[in-house]
């Protein structure tokens, strides 16, 4: 497994030079705590923990996996101890409000830590990661009593949380879920049913696990409008806050999966388990979706992490492995062959990974910055605008960045040749671990429907315009910047086409209800490449400015600029194919009889 090294220089580039986070942080309530020095110190400390504690456990977690027994689930060796260190270090409480025992730091800063945690050891990171959703749901929808009972320990990390949505027969289509909640005399509910694919549903790292569970009340309307949300603790909590009886919710088994072996994916059986309604009756999905954008952005990080870690591993190997000679003459005349990084095709793979990793970081941090404003922006208008921007970018970040992250992970294997297929090198683990990111938290297909159907066409293109305006503004600003035209000109052209493509699909969609589903994934991928082009153009312009002004980091900015060029010339043409395919028409998909799919 490649040793993870936090890409701090690039993190700082995106935070400080691209997004001006220092100024942004001064507009938030936590301004005092987020001075540049403090932010630096947090990132430094966090990176140490990830590099030294989590990274070494990544391969162990994969090899050993989780073990199920009647009494519970045992996580791989070292996971529990690492979690204790994480809790002792105060990391779980970073972004929770001070009122509930948190440190009140911005979500975007928490996301930087999530990137480092997730890149060094995704399977481990999912234990504290799932708590985040539970905490946020409770902050927003819980009663005061619920907040008092559960939040302090969830925030401190003494307890962890889960989100129990999926059932054996229903995943994407939650409207058909069957888990029942019967009201009890004491105001609580008895929850019965089976949930599957519950990440971190049972483990040995915390004293209690709080399951946020979707279920139906008797007589609830059918479909998505009859779903309510419940808090179901693994161990009931006494009035004084101490742990009481074991609740009747148990882990029936854990799944054997392609990857993320270090994370327990549980079948959870609720057998009349005591639960407490959170939020209004029958509004469970709404409550759940409040924080969906942030959860999905969290999954987008898995794509970024895959690109980054696989790139780090591949780069190291490409510099060390000797095979063949450079076509322009030996570069390592003393050795039996040249390092494979001299070969154009190896570079193509490395540069693709690099362009995706750094581009992903820019897109995710930008979206997270919007998230900060959504929660703590100064004006209602700013909050609303950021919310809409975030709603637009989230499905792109989640689906596109995990798709290209998976591509990067596979390229990492390819750089290693046959060794990439061998477990001990760790490169194939990244592929297996990352594969799930394209499936959970809404598959790529579901994200694409969300983007094109709900976010864009239902707003008559408003959501898209908000972003393309931003792009337009940048292109206008740089219109006279000759040096930047190699980026700005194609970006401006693409930005215009993006609107036209959307219009074209929208027109057809008015007549053909299959059109959205038919075009959605190609459209999303197109949007992803276009969005990344915007961030790469901005980064390139910054690099050009620094180089023009003179800098002692010439190598760094030159590399940035060269990577931007590679992205524009070699990756961005993919938009041509996606645009053409997106308007290829629904009939090519829908005309074949179901029976004719296989003979």
């Amino acid at each position: 497994m490649p040793d993870y090294k936090a890409p701090i220089r690039d993190i700082k580039f995106v935070m400080n030079e691209l997004l001006d986070m220092p100024a942004h942080y001064q507009t938030l309530p936590s301004a005092e705590m987020t001075t540049p020095d403090m932010v630096d110190a947090i990132i430094q400390e966090g990176s140490k923990f990830c590099e030294q504690v989590l990274s070494p456990l990544n391969a162990v977690g994969d090899t050993e996996g989780c073990t199920w027994s009647e009494t519970g689930v045992t996580t791989p060796k070292g996971f529990k101890e690492a979690y204790k260190q994480y809790v002792d270090g105060g990391w779980p409480s970073m972004t929770a409000p001070e009122a509930v025992g948190g440190q009140g730091l911005p979500e975007s800063l928490g996301l930087v830590m999530s990137e480092m945690v997730g890149t060094s050891n995704w399977a481990w990171g999912m234990y504290p990661g799932l708590s985040h959703g539970a905490v946020n749901t409770m902050i927003l929808h819980g009663s005061d009593e619920q907040k008092e009972t559960y939040l302090p320990k969830l925030v401190s990390g003494e307890w962890t949380g889960t989100m129990c949505l999926t059932e054996p027969h229903c995943g994407s289509d939650l409207g058909t879920l069957r888990t029942k909640a019967e009201p009890n005399a004491d105001g609580s509910y008895s929850i019965s049913g089976t949930k599957i694919f519950i990440s971190s549903g049972e483990h040995d790292m915390a004293d209690n696990i709080i399951h946020i569970t979707l279920a139906r009340l008797p007589n609830a309307p059918s479909g998505t409008k009859g779903i309510s949300l419940f808090i179901v603790p693994k161990v009931l909590v006494n009035a004084d806050g101490s742990l009481g009886e074991r609740n009747t919710v148990t882990c029936g088994s854990i799944e054997h999966k392609m990857g993320i072996h270090g994370n327990s994916t549980c079948v959870m059986n609720f057998d009349g388990a005591k639960g407490y309604l959170i939020g209004p009756e029958n509004k469970g999905l709404n409550c759940m979706f409040t924080f969906m954008n942030f959860a999905r952005l969290g999954t987008a990080i898995q794509g970024l992490g895959a690109s980054e870690l696989s790139f780090q591993g591949a780069l190291k190997y490409a510099k060390e492995r000797l095979a063949m000679r450079s076509l322009t003459g030996p570069k390592n005349p003393g050795g039996i062959a040249d390092p494979i990084i001299v070969h154009p095709d190896v570079r193509r793979m490395l540069l693709t990974q690099k362009a995706f990793a750094e581009g992903s970081r820019a897109m995710i941090y930008f979206t997270a910055q919007q998230g900060d404003i959504v929660h703590e922006g100064e004006t209602e208008e700013a909050r609303k605008e950021a919310d809409e921007m975030m709603a637009f970018l989230t499905p792109i970040a989640k689906a596109f960045l995990t798709e290209v992250g998976y591509e990067s992970a596979n390229l990492g294997v390819q750089v290693y040749g046959g060794h990439g297929f061998i477990a001990e090198w760790g490169m194939e683990q990244i592929v297996r671990d990352t594969r799930i990111a394209l499936l959970y938290e809404g598959t790529t297909g579901i994200q694409a429907l969300d983007l094109l159907g709900r976010k864009i066409l239902m707003t008559q293109g408003e959501a898209l315009k908000r972003f393309t305006k931003l792009v337009h503004k940048f292109c206008t600003q740089e219109a006279d910047n000759q040096a930047a035209q190699e980026f700005v000109a194609p970006l401006a052209k693409l930005n215009k086409e993006w609107g036209e493509l959307t219009m074209k699909i929208g027109m057809v969609a008015m007549k053909d209800r299959e059109e959205v589903g038919s075009a959605a994934v190609d459209y999303l991928m197109y949007s992803g490449y276009a969005t990344l082009a915007y961030f790469w153009a901005r980064m390139a312009v910054i690099a050009q400015q620094k180089l023009a002004a003179g800098t002692d980091e010439e190598a760094f900015y030159t590399a940035k600029l060269q990577t931007a060029r590679f992205y524009f010339k070699r990756i961005l043409p993919r938009t041509l194919a996606h645009a053409a395919s997106a308007v290829g028409g629904a009939s090519t998909l829908m005309q074949m009889d179901v029976e004719s799919f296989a003979f």
């Binding site: 000797l322 095979a323 001990e424 297996r432 589903g517 990577t563 993919r574 799919f597």
Partner: protein, 596 residues
């Protein structure tokens, strides 16, 4: 997981209706002695049966159990040794083998279909006989008669198996730097010493003997690829009377823990002065190896197709059964809580993509196989030379494009299952893990792309390419006025023009930039692949259109609809690829190695 069902209908369509291989056999006397339509069809039937009922049921268990190494011995998963015995009793190991030594002498067009079925059912299992067949090809083409007589009959029967020992810890792609030594002995044999890794089927419990073909260097051999020789090194020495003698001094040091093909033993082989015999000429080892390389590379391409076919069958079954959400145009399964997911356009997009690529792949591999047969069996040299050139040109495309798209397809097949696709028991994730290696071994797909663009296109200044482009042009010309093909001829013309244009562009760039090939090659190969598939689809449509009327099976109608999908939804990728190729090498080479 759906029960595997061999796609015999589609295979027959290609063999009998599109490529009419039997007519080709009639023109080649050496082939027509062994191959006739009835025998060929019986072989396909039998291969389907053995794949479906014998090999497919061992696929999941083989993955779960894997191979086990114990003191130098390797044990294959439960059921494998028994299945292997049944398999060799059917004579499958010698299907394409030389009849002079007990092979069946069947053409590659049939062999490719049989390989697809075996690999669809169980890639790990299929690798054992595949390696034997490869070793036989090299031995038959280059071995002395004495060696051929001694080894080939038992290898064709499968009683003995074969392995190919090329890679060493420090040398894979770059075989010029191998270190394994071969010292000449007084009796004319050689003492072979060194370590080989990634040896598929290097040690196992399926056959009585394992015949290793080993690349090694003589003490005074020239440096680099020109100093490599090929040796036959058996696990057990073979006595004069053909019985097994002493154990040779070679052994399996360990087996690898891999992402997939866990039931195939991937061995570290240690040769410690092991007795071996030279195959072919001294220092011509690589050339000998390349004889069988085209066959093997096509075979690996077929693995990509095979895994994708299996994934498709599972995904279609799941998409028909799994109910989730309602159709955009109104409920279809009104009596159920939701509609089967095959109603959703995006699910269909994934299924249609797999299907269009699979049927294109099957056509393309059959097409390339027909040139392999011509190159081997044609009587007149002009036909042979032409076929050899096309084999040389198209084989790297078959290997790389079929495995790259095959991998993509297994990922799509997994995506159709949603979260369940990630769970082992459904079998979809195994196909992804198993087929991933096909993009790497037998020359990584990057190496295939360099071979295509550098050696097969640029080195002869586009001569081979012209043969292919002319064939496509002739097809277009012959069908330009054919109303049945109207919607396909224009995009096919555009695609081949684009490919020709890009080819010319690159030929020009190569003159001034040595990195031009390497920077463009992978995109170029993909462009080549999509364009050749467009040609395959046009040829298939031509037949389908002539038979669709009155056909109640839906087969020809589905062909036409799948072709439309390919042309409107997949072929546009050529635009992106052409653009990327033409952008040149500068941006790929600009970054200093230390600045990555």
């Amino acid at each position: 997981m759906a029960d595997y069902k061999a796609p015999l209908r589609d295979m027959r369509f290609l063999l009998n209706e599109v490529f009419e291989v039997a007519k080709q056999w009639e023109t080649m006397p050496r082939l027509s002695e062994t191959a006739d339509p009835e025998t060929a069809d019986a072989i396909l039937e039998e291969a389907a049966k053995i794949s479906q009922s014998l090999l497919a049921p061992l696929n999941r268990s083989g993955d779960e159990e894997g191979c086990r190494w114990e003191n130098g011995q390797v044990f294959t998963p439960a059921g494998f040794p028994q299945a292997y015995r049944t398999f060799i009793e059917g004579g499958w190991c010698g299907l394409g083998g030389n009849p002079e030594f007990g092979g069946m002498g069947m053409p590659k067009t049939i062999g490719a279909q049989v390989e697809e079925m075996i690999q669809s059912a169980n890639i790990s299992f299929g690798l054992y006989p595949m390696l034997t067949a490869g070793a036989c090809l090299a031995l038959d083409a280059h071995g002395a008669d004495e060696l051929r007589e001694k080894y080939l009959p038992n290898m064709y029967s499968g009683i003995w198996s074969g392995s190919m020992c090329l890679t060493e810890p420090h040398s894979g792609t770059d075989l010029g730097i191998i270190r394994t030594k071969a010292e000449p002995q007084a009796d004319g044999s050689y003492a072979v010493s060194g370590t080989k890794i990634f040896i598929t089927g290097g040690e196992h419990d399926l056959s009585d003997n394992i015949i290793h073909l080993v690349l090694a260097k003589l003490p005074d051999a020239p440096a680099g690829p020109k100093g490599i020789s090929l040796f036959l090194v058996p696990k057990f020495l073979v006595n004069e009377d053909g019985s097994l003698g002493a154990r040779n001094t070679l052994g399996c040091g360990s087996i690898e823990h891999k992402m997939g093909i866990k039931a195939s033993a991937t061995c570290v082989m240690n040769f410690d002065g092991a007795k071996g015999w030279l195959v072919g000429e001294l220092n011509k080892g690589l050339a000998c190896m390349f004889t069988m390389m085209n066959y093997e590379r096509l075979g690996v391409g077929v693995q990509g197709l095979a895994a994708a076919e299996r994934s498709y069958q599972n995904a279609v079954e799941y998409a028909r059964d799994r109910i989730q959400g309602r159709a955009a145009t109104g409920p279809v399964a009104k009596d159920k809580a939701a509609d089967p997911i095959i109603v959703h356009p995006d699910v269909r997009r994934m299924l249609m993509t797999i299907r269009a690529m699979n049927e294109g792949s099957r056509a393309f591999s059959t097409y390339v196989a027909s040139f392999l047969d011509m190159a081997k069996y044609a009587d007149d040299s002009a036909t042979r030379v032409n076929a050899e050139a096309l084999v040389a040109l198209l084989t790297p495309v078959a290997k790389a494009f079929l495995t790259d798209r095959g991998f993509d397809s297994t990922v799509f097949g997994q995506q159709v299952f949603g979260g369940h696709g990630y769970i082992r028991e459904w079998g979809q994730e195994q196909l992804v893990r198993d087929v991933r290696i096909a993009q790497i071994y037998e020359g990584t797909n990057g190496i295939q792309a360099l071979d295509l663009m550098g050696r097969k296109v640029a080195a002869n200044n586009g001569k081979f390419y012209e043969l292919f482009a002319n064939e496509v042009a002739a097809f277009i010309e012959a069908n330009r006025e054919n109303p049945a093909l109207a919607e396909f001829i224009a995009p096919l013309s555009a695609a081949i023009e684009r490919l020709s244009d890009v080819t010319e562009h690159v030929l020009n760039q190569v003159k001034s930039d040595p990195n031009a090939v390497g920077a463009a090659s992978v995109d170029y190969l993909d462009l080549f692949g999509y364009t050749s598939f467009a040609y395959m689809w046009a040829r298939m449509v031509l037949v389908a259109k002539s038979k669709v009327e009155g056909d109640t099976s839906g087969f020809y109608d589905s062909k036409i609809k799948t072709a439309r999908f390919f042309f409107s939804r997949l072929l546009p990728k050529t635009m992106a690829l052409a653009e990327s190729v033409k952008s040149g090498a500068a941006d790929t080479m600009a970054l200093a190695a230390e600045n990555f």
